[in-house]
Point group: C2
Chain length 124, copies 2
């Protein structure tokens, strides 16, 4: 049985909150042990908790906030548009990817693919 829409919505909310203010370990706990992350789509795929932790560890310690713009859940999968705003010095970096996620029966993320390109980063 696929993860329920309610469960998927909860994971998306948790994911966006934790990318904004959580630790890499907390984010990794949302993923299956053999999950894959492709961020951005077209880059090397990271497989498993250690590689995924390394990816999110790069975000730790940055001053940032996140918010969900919109999501669509269908067939046990989700795509969602969200925004991550990072401040460094006197600059603000705003990136708003559309992420696609799949899940296993127990309700953890099995694949995450983030769609964004260089042109989607706004610096102000």
């Amino acid at each position: 049985m696929a993860a329920s829409a309610d469960r998927i919505g909860q994971i998306v909310d948790d994911y966006i909150r934790l990318v904004g203010s959580g630790t890499a370990d907390e984010i990794v706990a949302l993923y299956a042990a053999d999950a894959t992350v492709e961020d951005p789509v077209g880059s090397d795929v990271r497989t498993g908790h250690a590689a995924i932790r390394e990816f999110y560890a790069g975000l730790e310690g940055l001053e940032k906030e996140t918010r969900l713009i919109t999501s669509r859940i269908a067939g046990g999968e989700v795509v969602f548009h969200f925004e991550i705003i990072t401040r460094a010095g006197d600059k603000t970096y705003t990136l708003s990817p559309i992420d696609a996620m799949t899940f296993d029966d127990s309700g953890v993320i099995t694949t995450m693919r983030a769609f964004w390109g260089d042109g989607d980063m706004v610096i102000s």
Copy 2:
């Protein structure tokens, strides 16, 4: 070589314009001969021009308009959020899916997957 970002952006523009005011044949011409359409995600996958034409033929003759909300192109693929507004009698049906598309080297669509659920249709 994957389809270029420019070419993909052009296909998305054409697709949204033709879903709004084109014929099923014009839309089908954007697809590869053995392309697949899963709309919504989780429903039966339609394979090939005949099955895809049948799907879009159901939209012909409806009074409707479409607009692109936002798109993200990465790694030769695209996800895009758009809106389709259909009027029937005194009712307006607004659906805003997020579609995911892949392409072949010649720049035609090989897969289309539309993410939306019943809760994403607004009737006014």
